[in-house]
């Protein structure tokens, strides 16, 4: 964990309510895909946790969806704005367990961290398949970028307006995978967990006080005791999860 200042270089809508934020600044503390950052926004007391979508030395990309007042305020931040960021938070995904054919399952704004993961997995020469679920065609983002990495993408929408009509669990049918990585709403994670036939890594969300393990605001029960989503997670192993 590190407290740094990042400067916005770009803040553009990818869909009507999903934005891509590109930033420059110290990214040293980020060591694994699936980690997150905690952004201080002027006018809000608590920081806002957002997954790292992609990063390189000196630059990072985040993708966020407008959900409440904080994320709505974020859409108004112009390029040049400096943000106070706690970076390198959480454990992130472990790519050493991926095997040859990892499967990535993402829903909505659970998809961004899977991009950074896919980039690392493809760099490690694994055959990556991604099952991506959106509500409707106009919600789609990151699909081309994943294609460009060489990922096999299965696209689903809940209303059938693009790709296959259905949920991510429908998209998982028939995929032959060695390990599963997933991120998305809790109901989706649960359904994916029930379908998953290999070991897997599940990334959770919780309302956070601090984001670095100090307040016990984000605790969940696991088979191995209480864990803090922000510090011991957000990624949990399949076998330890208690629903």
């Amino acid at each position: 964990m590190k407290q740094v200042t990042w400067t916005i270089t770009e803040n553009t809508p990818l869909t009507p309510d999903t934005y891509r934020l590109r930033l420059t600044g110290d990214t040293e503390a980020i060591t694994a895909p699936g980690q997150f950052v905690n952004l201080r926004l002027s006018g809000f007391y608590l920081r806002r946790p957002i997954s790292v979508c992609d990063w390189e030395p000196g630059a990072a990309t985040l993708i966020y969806k407008v959900l409440g007042h904080g994320t709505a305020a974020m859409t108004h931040l112009p390029a040049g704005t400096e943000l106070d960021v706690l970076t390198g938070l959480g454990n992130g995904y472990d790519t050493s367990l991926a095997g040859e054919r990892p499967l990535l399952v993402g829903g909505g704004v659970g998809i961004p961290p899977l991009y950074g993961l896919a980039r690392r997995l493809t760099a490690e020469h694994r055959q990556v398949t991604a099952v991506l679920g959106y509500n409707r065609a106009s919600d789609i983002f990151l699909v081309e970028e994943l294609h460009a990495l060489g990922v096999t993408v299965r696209l689903l929408t809940a209303d059938g307006s693009a790709g296959i009509c259905g949920l991510v669990t429908d998209g998982m049918e028939g995929v032959n995978y060695t390990h599963l990585y997933t991120c998305g709403p809790e109901a989706m994670l649960h359904a994916v967990w029930q379908r998953c036939r290999t070991d897997g890594q599940f990334s959770f969300e919780e309302r956070m006080g601090c984001g670095f393990g100090a307040c016990m605001g984000c605790t969940c029960r696991t088979k191995y005791g209480h864990k803090r989503i922000c510090k011991d997670g957000p990624v949990l192993r399949r076998e330890e999860i208690v629903w």
Partner: protein, 305 residues
């Protein structure tokens, strides 16, 4: 050179800044960010007799002045604290630490304090009486002078360490509770704990926190803390650890003028991990700005004017 040292119940503090219980864990997370030995001391997470998971999530909500928490005293229980947390804590913090104690019966408080009494590094016992009394219909021990005094006496009997009773702002008359604690043998009082509040999830039409209510903390409760410290200062002769919404060195001075000998910093640590280090660094300049040579000179200073 200004002097930031104060004495809290007989033990010297390099400066009055004390991270508040529940916002600083056992110090490790912060020790990774800065050398926490710059602190006066810190109060570790509230400890109960048995391990507690606490409340279901969501446990955290926001408001314009800070946050609400309903963590529900998650902690590994006093035995695990002594066996596992204190030895680790010792590695990163070399001063006496404040042990925060909670309980749901007078006996539980006494039992936890008895066990912590044997720990060398524990400098003070801070006894949080905002918890509901399971034998008393669920009212908090801190709501009334009598129950607060009962806890104080029980704890006083089992330890030679200084006992600091931590008061709840939900008390009808916090000055009366403080007085009762002093009469029952407390060496100090700390205040304020969080103020019960609620947020509602408009989408789901139910309280946002799974627990229903949660404790308000942060700058939104600062004037309440100042008022209560001021009132308690007029009611007791024992030192006060003031807290509630402190975020800056000036806030520290304000609470000390109201009557605090030392000052707790809670929520600020969560959103600004280096908040306490910064406050300590800023203190000398703030003191000079207001013509303060020694911090001890201003304790209760707003009462003379």
């Amino acid at each position: 050179m200004v002097n930031t040292a104060v004495t809290l119940c007989g033990l010297p503090l390099e400066n009055p800044v004390i991270p508040a219980s529940g916002t600083f864990g056992y110090g490790y997370e912060f020790a990774q960010i800065y050398d926490i030995n710059c602190l006066g001391t810190f109060s570790f997470k509230g400890t109960t007799l048995a391990p507690r998971y606490g409340n279901p999530t969501p446990r955290i909500a926001e408001y314009a002045g800070g946050l609400l928490n309903a963590v529900g005293l998650q902690n590994p229980g006093v035995e695990a604290v002594i066996r596992e947390e204190l030895p680790r804590l010792r590695e990163v913090f070399h001063k006496p630490v404040m042990a925060n104690v909670s309980g749901f019966s007078v006996e539980e408080y006494a039992q936890v304090c008895r066990q912590l009494d044997g720990e060398d590094q524990v400098g003070w016992l801070e006894v949080n009486i905002s918890c509901p009394n399971v034998h008393g219909g669920g009212a908090a021990f801190g709501a009334e002078p009598q129950t607060a005094a009962a806890v104080t006496r029980a704890v006083r009997d089992v330890t030679k360490k200084p006992v600091i009773m931590k008061l709840s702002p939900a008390a009808a008359d916090i000055a009366a509770v403080a007085r009762a604690c002093q009469e029952a043998g407390a060496d100090g009082v700390s205040l304020i704990n969080t103020l019960p509040g609620m947020r509602i999830d408009l989408k789901h039409r139910r309280p946002l926190l799974a627990n229903g209510t949660g404790g308000m903390s942060g700058p939104g409760i600062f004037p309440l803390a100042v008022r209560m410290v001021y009132q308690v200062y007029e009611a007791v002769d024992i030192p006060i650890v003031g807290m509630g919404g402190v975020s800056t060195a000036e806030d520290v001075l304000e609470l000390m003028l109201a009557g605090a000998t030392a000052v707790g910093v809670g929520a600020a640590n969560l959103v600004e991990p280096c908040a306490c280090r910064k406050i300590i660094q800023d203190l000398p300049a703030a003191m000079e700005r207001y013509g303060i040579q020694q911090l001890t000179d201003i304790i209760g200073g707003a009462h003379h004017g």
